[in-house]
């Protein structure tokens, strides 16, 4: 490992990230992300989609710094909601609800929040360091990839995204296919034919992924929320007395934080694995290791410290496949790909070599942003509490309006807003029938890339499909994909997935 290069790179990164402009954007991103993330019933994907237009007028580096800030701000905000009102702001804080809310009810919401913040910061630091360490060698590896390897890697990414997630496998693969098909609407790069555009000029540019994300995650979620009663009734917000955790709290949390971070980093790097699984695995592990497992579910601090660190570590390390290989591993990362494309950057290994200031600046700013979260959130808890008291009936029209304005301002065209309506309608019914939106978004972003690489691979091999099986890296990735699919048949693995699915509901 070349530490002097690492040091030089990090120095470059911090010079970029510490510039006044970038610090401000990182701060705004973290603040806005937390603000929206705290709102129950709106997850990180919708948050990012909603705030994406704000970054359009910025240069690439501050734009991406701000988006990354929005993302971990939103993740962190979700935990705050979980602890204070027992409503997960996003799916990965489902686990935090279990013990976090119990602690809140016992008047220990403050220490729970403080420990969550510390765990997240530790995990964020480790995650950022790992990106800096493993980014360059992985990018080197990716430079050796040909079209066949890229295609197989995308297959692996998509397959593992659905196998490791919960819910019906067939339906999830179906949603990926719908996404891939939707993604290739528009002008075909090779022939210049506008596919599936039906003479609509806007469609020949393709369907905007922001419209899809906003429709399915934004509108779809709001409509579903309004259909339930849990969000519309008055929420009880736990009181925060003192933030200081006791010495015992800290002592008991150190182990879970370290273990949670380790679990989280692994799950983050795996293509398709979600922060939810990281949090769940950490919770299960802590419960197993505990001297008295019965405390879990009744306000055990380990049950907050471990999962919170795990999901933050995973949120951090899932940038690794994106930044080095250009492959998004989940819905949020798919949005980041879209944001990079809008900024004129093709995600992939060349980002690191061609735009080192952007790459390292973003990484350094992730660490700074994580630090800001701690400094920002603990004193501002009082404000978030006030925010949570606003009833949902006053909140959702404003959120809707924000999404409308966001969708419109992508191209200054009402066409994108109409598309968002269509996808909102589609997303609402699809999720009723057990078809989730996340695989669709992933497929949607990867659609054109997959087609391009499939074409190229087949052209080079003169139409011989065995190229995917004769090149070792490609073969390896396809074998792993098959193995993952085969795992579904194992009864033990099946049971785990079902438990996860139940917990997410």
């Amino acid at each position: 490992m070349d530490f002097s290069a690492l040091f030089a790179n990090l120095t470059l990164g911090f010079t970029v990230a510490l510039s006044f402009q970038n610090l401000i954007y990182c701060f705004i991103g973290v603040l806005l992300g937390t603000l929206i993330g705290v709102l129950p019933g709106i997850g990180p994907v919708a948050t990012i989609a909603m705030l994406l237009p704000i970054t359009f007028n910025l240069p690439p580096t501050p734009a991406l710094i701000m988006l990354a800030g929005i993302y971990y701000g939103a993740s962190y905000g979700g935990s705050t909601t979980a602890i204070l009102v027992n409503l997960p702001g996003e799916s990965s804080s489902v686990v935090t609800c279990i013990d976090g809310y119990q602690m809140g009810k016992q008047g220990r919401a403050g220490p729970a929040l403080a420990i969550a913040a510390m765990g997240s910061f530790f995990a964020g630091t480790v995650g950022t360091l790992l990106i800096a360490l493993f980014g360059p060698p992985l990018a080197e590896l990716a430079f050796a990839f040909g079209a066949a390897e890229y295609f197989s890697m995308m297959v692996l990414g998509l397959i593992s995204a659905v196998v490791l997630a919960s819910g019906s496998l067939i339906k999830a693969i179906g949603m990926i296919l719908v996404g891939l098909l939707g993604g290739i609407v528009g002008t075909d790069v090779n022939s210049g034919i506008a596919r599936y555009s039906f003479g609509v000029s806007e469609l020949s540019d393709g369907i905007g992924f922001v419209s899809v994300a906003m429709g399915m995650f934004g509108f779809g979620e709001i409509i579903a929320n309004l259909g339930q009663t849990s969000l519309t009734r008055h929420v009880e917000v736990s009181k925060v007395h003192s933030l200081m955790p006791s010495k015992d709290d800290v002592r008991m949390s150190i182990g879970p934080i370290v273990r949670g971070t380790a679990i989280g980093t692994v799950f983050g790097i795996l293509p398709g694995a979600h922060t939810v699984i990281a949090a769940f695995s950490s919770y299960t592990l802590e419960k197993k290791l505990a001297k008295d497992p019965t405390r879990f579910g009744k306000g055990a601090i380990e049950g907050v410290a471990g999962p919170e660190s795990a999901n933050n570590a995973a949120a951090q390390t899932c940038f690794i496949p994106l930044l080095t290989l250009g492959i998004p591993t989940g819905a949020v990362m798919a949005l980041m790909v879209g944001a990079m494309t809008i900024q004129g950057i093709a995600p992939g290994p060349q980002v690191m070599t061609q735009k080192p200031d952007l790459f390292w600046g973003m990484i350094a700013s992730m660490w700074l942003g994580n630090g800001m979260l701690v400094i920002l959130n603990l004193p501002l808890i009082g404000m978030w509490v006030q925010f949570l008291k606003i009833p949902y009936r006053l909140m959702f029209p404003g959120i809707c309006l924000f999404i409308c304005i966001g969708a419109f301002s992508i191209n200054n065209a009402s066409f994108d807003v109409y598309m968002a309506v269509i996808f909102g309608f589609f997303g609402y019914y699809a999720s009723k029938w057990g078809c989730e939106a996340a695989p669709l978004i992933l497929g949607f972003v990867l659609g054109p890339l997959m087609e391009e690489n499939l074409r190229r691979a087949m052209l080079i091999s003169r139409g011989d499909p065995s190229v995917f099986f004769t090149r070792p890296i490609s073969l390896g990735m396809l074998l792993v994909s098959f193995a993952l699919l085969a795992m579904i048949v194992l009864p033990q693995f099946r049971k785990k997935r079902e438990i996860l699915a139940e917990a997410e509901d």
Partner: protein, 151 residues
């Protein structure tokens, strides 16, 4: 009878997949197919569409043998029409009447989609949010909106 207690979620999802896949694969016949070496614009969508149709058929077929699955929850028409209607209003009026009028309309119509609608507080809410959006997006971020129908 089997048809009656089939798994409705799987059945509906399957029909949807068959429809979408069939549409894409079918419509692809309008484009050149090309060959495996030089794939035409129809190649990829045809393969994907066919796969989707197959998955959909598996779901439909399987749904007849999966009993006791929970039926999909009922459509909540009020939020569905309220939200999507409000968004349609926004899309329609933003070019014609400017940001202020379309925001007010969207907020007002949207709030009808929620429960316990109290019109006084929603009017106040609409005005505040519209003002906030104009402040943030028009003045703050300088996005090129028309504010009024005549501007």
């Amino acid at each position: 009878m089997a048809f009656r207690d089939r798994d409705r979620k799987d059945y509906n999802a399957g029909i949807m997949y068959v429809g979408i896949g069939g549409f894409f694969a079918g419509f692809a016949t309008n484009y050149p197919m090309g060959s495996a070496v030089r794939m035409g614009p129809a190649y990829f969508p045809t393969i994907l569409g066919a796969m989707l149709v197959m998955l959909g058929m598996i779901l439909v077929f399987r749904s007849f043998f999966m009993h006791g699955g929970e039926p999909p929850t009922k459509t909540h028409w009020r939020p569905l029409l309220g939200i999507l209607g409000a968004v349609l209003l926004f899309a329609f009026f933003i070019d014609r009447a400017g940001l202020i009028i379309s925001s007010l309309l969207t907020m007002a119509f949207c709030s009808l989609g929620g429960w316990d609608f109290k019109w006084k507080e929603q009017v106040v809410n609409s005005v505040i949010m519209t003002a906030a959006c104009v402040g943030i997006f028009y003045y703050g971020l300088g996005l090129p909106f028309r504010l009024f129908p005549w501007s």
